[in-house]
Symmetry: C2
Subunit: 254 residues, 2 copies
Amino acid sequence: MVERSQGPRYRRIADDLRAKIDQKVYAADDQLPSEPELMEEYGVSRNTVRLALNLLANEGRIVSQPGRGTFVRTRTVLNFTLGVEGPGSEHDPEYRSEIEAQQRTPGWGPVTMRVLPATTGIADRLRIPIEDLVVLRQITRQVDGEPALIQRSYYPLDIALNTALTKQQEIEQGTIAYLAELGHQQIGYRDQLLARMPGPQETEELRLGQGVPVMELFRTANSAERSIRLTHTIFPADLFHLVYNVGDISPQDR
Amino acid sequence: MVERSQGPRYRRIADDLRAKIDQKVYAADDQLPSEPELMEEYGVSRNTVRLALNLLANEGRIVSQPGRGTFVRTRTVLNFTLGVEGPGSEHDPEYRSEIEAQQRTPGWGPVTMRVLPATTGIADRLRIPIEDLVVLRQITRQVDGEPALIQRSYYPLDIALNTALTKQQEIEQGTIAYLAELGHQQIGYRDQLLARMPGPQETEELRLGQGVPVMELFRTANSAERSIRLTHTIFPADLFHLVYNVGDISPQDR
DNA sequence: CAGTGGTCTAGACCACTGC
DNA sequence: CAGTGGTCTAGACCACTGA
């Protein structure tokens, strides 16, 4: 009600609503006043109300549902452990057990396989020439039936050719173990993490709300000789927190 | 010019402009047509043009500058190495050398120190009771003179009391070494990473553009007995990529 | 069927930029 | 001073939700 802050009208309204959300005047999942009510309350036009609501939506704090109303967004977060220190660094995040340990239901779509020329980003990370052919294996994983992450693994063609990696099926024993069987023993990896706003296609594939960034992980796995795999994972930031455990973490739970 | 996609008018305009940016019709730093020009080109009202531009701005793809125009956003990225595997896991990211190695100029503001009761998030991670007093040391670091990250370190009061940690100065030898001198030898840490859209205060402090998420790192450092420090770092996602090197990465360049 | 948010128009005045 | 984007108004019609 009281608008302490300064600046344009729509920004003050957004500040006021944000403060009320923080103070739990509107708690999680609560419905905000409707747009006509906010017009009345703040004495502004509908477009100005909508500018304010849009600001909060782009901060990921509210969601609007046509025909229903505008609601305070809730976030239920999953931890996903990406890295543990240890001899050999053989940790392969096991999606299924990670999710089940947190009382959620994991799921996954089919594996799709393609052969394509390496783009700059792929070639640089795999340390192969640009345009060299690579095998791409892609899978979409789910949590509680909803799409939750997109994973794309790239293999140099000579590694994947005439192996199960070119089949559109999951590798039973895990890809790290399978690569080791093929003579490519993983001895370490480099992870590069970034965050950005999604494009329209990712927004659709991952059912992302307005104001929800994605985190991207590029993991380059190496054998003693070369880079053997690049795994590119896209995480919706409202669903996942990523975890690395390094060194001795004995006194630490989970 | 051609609008292939479907959906509302402003979304098709955004799709068209996005495609032109991707195809380098408008390259990095290029100026987009002005709003009146876009009204003319697409035959829509100014508000519709602005809806389209706002969509792209919230994807972090364009920036508008009052009185000047609208421009394709460029991203110049820094790698910041957060973790390396190794005995003892004593890696402490050294801000200065990290930045200088990438031909940029590091800088930092003063250290500010406060004593405050632990909130839930702090207490849980430090494994101390809520409301227990902690020492907070905060510093803002810069790249090329611009604010680039905010770092807050929390120490249990009994660890920091009567030490240099309560002075508003940087610790010369680094905090890990200093804590070891105090008898708190770090043996490992747990990192939790997430991304979200910034609030208005962070947007101001870090001079963030519209559509730029932040990444948050919570690093809990442990001695053999207990958690000795929680470091909370906020990174603008348009400036930093975070890196972990695990295992033997000998064949890999940085 | 009343109420919700989604889309769109056609204006207006403003502060700021850069010539 | 002309051109830019920022803010704001007052309408309109639409599709959808849920009682």
